[in-house]
């Protein structure tokens, strides 16, 4: 048996109007937390649902825990746990009833009451699902994914729309699951989530992997650890920053906002001030930060993750 939890090769899924997945390869080791990162419409959900055996691929090869979906479907379902992007459980059932129902589908699994405690849902034990907050519903969704003691946990945008505290709680659940040896595949368009949770990340755009590695490796690919952002009045129109300084690696413009990737802030900032001044404009805002995965995505595609 290979040590791959999930292995897919040359995965393709074309819809009439869009190539949702367009030649995608992934290798996810057991015990790893792997993130699929990308903007809305990049093909993340289609990819994860193919890997979950919920939709068929047009072509390509998928192995989960060394088994193919065709023929091993029931065995695989016993060993994976899934949280879909937008499942609504029955409003009229309580938390414990919903968990007990899902528990009944698996041969082996957790005691629903224990699971509720570890997800801080025990106070809501007898509340109707319809009365739960967004964060509580999401924790219930993850609880339903965990109730069959899965080897792999699939989470499709688990924290989208959640408040910061609920996100932290959910991250803790994922971390706890991993400490027990579990494998996690999650999709997200939050950079900080990927950087914080994932061992490795694949950045996906237009159904293809455009970058793959640990968060640190990916950021290192930028060759420019620092980002300078500024606006000026009147706005700069030329993108001719090439001679700014030695460590200049490129720029991107969003509205009136310029974003420059540089090696050294100490060198770049004074030079930038001079360039702006000599063009006859006045600097309005200036900020700098250490490069993130978000900046890598902007550098790779010229677009931003959240609104691309």
């Amino acid at each position: 048996m290979s040590d791959a939890a999930i292995h897919c090769r040359d995965l393709r899924k074309h819809y009439p109007d869009v190539k949702a997945v367009d030649g995608l390869d992934l290798y996810i080791a057991r015990g790893e937390c792997f993130g699929l990162l990308g903007p809305n419409g990049a093909g993340k959900t289609t990819t994860i649902e193919i890997l979950e055996g919920l939709i068929p691929a047009d072509s390509g090869d998928v192995e989960v825990l060394g088994m193919r979906w065709n023929g091993y479907s029931r065995d695989l379902r016993e060993r994976i746990g899934i949280s879909l992007q937008e499942t609504q459980f029955t409003d009229k059932l309580t938390v414990i009833e919903t968990l007990t129902l899902f528990r009944s589908f698996y041969r082996e699994g957790h005691d629903p009451d224990e699971l509720m405690r570890s997800l801080s849902l025990e106070e809501k034990r007898n509340s109707r699902v319809g009365k739960l907050s967004g964060g509580q519903k999401q924790r219930l969704a993850v609880a339903c994914a965990l109730v069959g003691k899965p080897d792999i946990l699939f989470l499709d945008e688990p924290t989208t729309g959640l408040d910061p505290q609920s996100r932290l709680q959910l991250w803790e659940v994922v971390t706890k699951f991993r400490s027990g040896g579990g494998t996690v595949l999650l999709t997200t368009h939050y950079m900080d989530e990927a950087e914080r949770l994932c061992d490795r990340v694949a950045i996906v755009d237009h159904g293809k992997v455009i970058a793959l590695g640990t968060p640190a490796e990916l950021i290192a690919k930028l060759d420019a650890p620092n980002i300078v952002e500024f606006t000026s009045d009147p706005p700069m129109t030329s993108d001719d920053f090439a001679n700014l300084c030695a460590g200049y690696h490129g720029c991107a413009k969003r509205g009136d906002f310029w974003q420059l990737r540089v090696e050294s802030l100490a060198e770049a900032v004074p030079r930038l001030l001079a360039v702006v001044e000599s063009s006859g404009a006045k600097l309005v805002t200036l900020s700098t930060h250490a490069a993130t995965l978000e900046d890598l995505f902007v550098a790779l595609t010229g677009r931003e993750l959240r609104d691309a």
């Binding site: 979950e52 879909l84 609504q88 029955t90 589908f105």
Partner: protein, 343 residues
């Protein structure tokens, strides 16, 4: 625990239903109210007198006197124009006019007008001295099993089994599909057949309450009884519930919005409300249409319910309509399994 799943699914479905007050009203209270309203509207009472009029003229007083002796007719004296007007608008069923010999003016397509003509003629002839050559004795029938309410209750029961069977299954499935709950369920090792069977089982649980409720109510309020075997009656209700759950499952097998499934449900149910003899006998339809009407599942259910409740029939007598019901259930369930859309 393969059996635990089907128990839990059925239990969830039952809980979901009883926590929905509107659904409980439509399933349990509405049929009772309908039975009550129709039962009182058509309760047994002395037959209404038929209103007729005599037009003012030379013999008018004499004819009025003769006609007022009839127990069936309610006679008034009217001016010619007013009389014609009332006949035209249906306020009276027959006009007696004429100068020397009476003239009966009426619409022969109206049954009460024809009755009025016979009664009026009879009364006038007798007043002029006709002697009957024979005397017949009358025996009036109002036995249990032959009243309108006895016809109505099995029909309402059948209609209710159809409505709740189809809605109970169809609505919950389409709702679960819309919420992506079906997709979430098939992402678990749950057997698909367990889910669909749980829909049936939960239906059968409600059906028991629903039928018992209506039958006990009709017995207490209108003295409607089940003359046949109660076991036969109960099994027949279960078969009916099974058939309509199967049809509901098929109707809901691909619909992805409540509007779509509502439209299709009505398309299936409305013709049967009218055609299958719920409120009036389908014997009134042309003979050519009857084989089709008898092939409808609600006709089959109503016919067999009436046979068991009113005539005390056994399985041999109702074999044909029960066969029709079972066929509908099996074919629809099998088809639904094949075309069912889980996501």
């Amino acid at each position: 625990m393969p059996d635990a799943a089907i128990v839990e699914l059925t239990r969830s479905r039952v809980r979901e239903f009883i926590r929905e007050p509107e659904a409980v009203f439509w399933v349990f209270a509405f049929p009772l109210l309908l039975t009550l309203a129709l039962g009182f509207a058509f309760r047994s009472k002395p037959p209404d007198k038929i209103p007729i009029a005599v037009v003012q003229g030379p013999h008018a007083q004499e004819w009025m006197a003769a006609l007022s002796k009839s127990p069936v007719l309610l006679t008034r004296l009217l001016a010619p124009e007013q009389a014609r007007d009332q006949l035209r608008t249906g306020k009276i069923s027959l006009l007696v006019e004429g100068d020397s010999q009476p003239v009966y003016r009426f619409d022969p397509t109206r049954p009460d007008s024809r009755t009025a003509r016979v009664e009026a003629d009879d009364a006038l002839q007798r007043a002029l001295g006709r002697r009957d050559v024979m005397t017949a004795r009358e025996e009036h029938v109002s036995e249990q099993g032959s009243r309108y309410i006895d016809f109505l209750v099995p029909g309402l029961l059948g209609m209710n089994l159809m409505g709740t069977g189809m809605w109970g299954v169809g609505f919950s499935i389409v709702n679960a599909r819309m919420k992506k709950l079906l997709k979430r369920l098939i992402a678990t090792p749950m057997r698909k057949s367990d889910y669909l069977l749980a829909q049936f089982f939960s239906r059968l649980i409600f059906l028991t309450g629903e039928v018992a409720f209506l039958i006990i109510f009709a017995w207490l309020v209108f003295n409607v009884r089940v003359h046949g075997s109660l076991v036969t009656f109960a099994v027949l209700c279960l078969i009916g519930g099974f058939a309509f759950s199967g049809i509901g499952l098929l109707v809901a097998s691909r619909a992805s919005t409540i509007e779509a499934v509502s439209g299709m449900m009505n398309l299936v149910m409305v013709p049967m409300w009218i055609g299958s003899g719920v409120f009036f006998s389908y014997e009134r339809f042309p003979d050519a249409a009857k084989p089709f009407i008898r092939a409808l599942p609600l006709t089959a259910l109503n016919d067999s319910l009436r046979a068991v409740m009113n005539d005390g029939a056994g399985w041999m007598t109702i074999a044909a309509p029960v066969g029709v019901l079972v066929a509908w259930g099996v074919v629809c369930f099998a088809l639904a399994l094949r075309v069912f859309k889980w996501q």
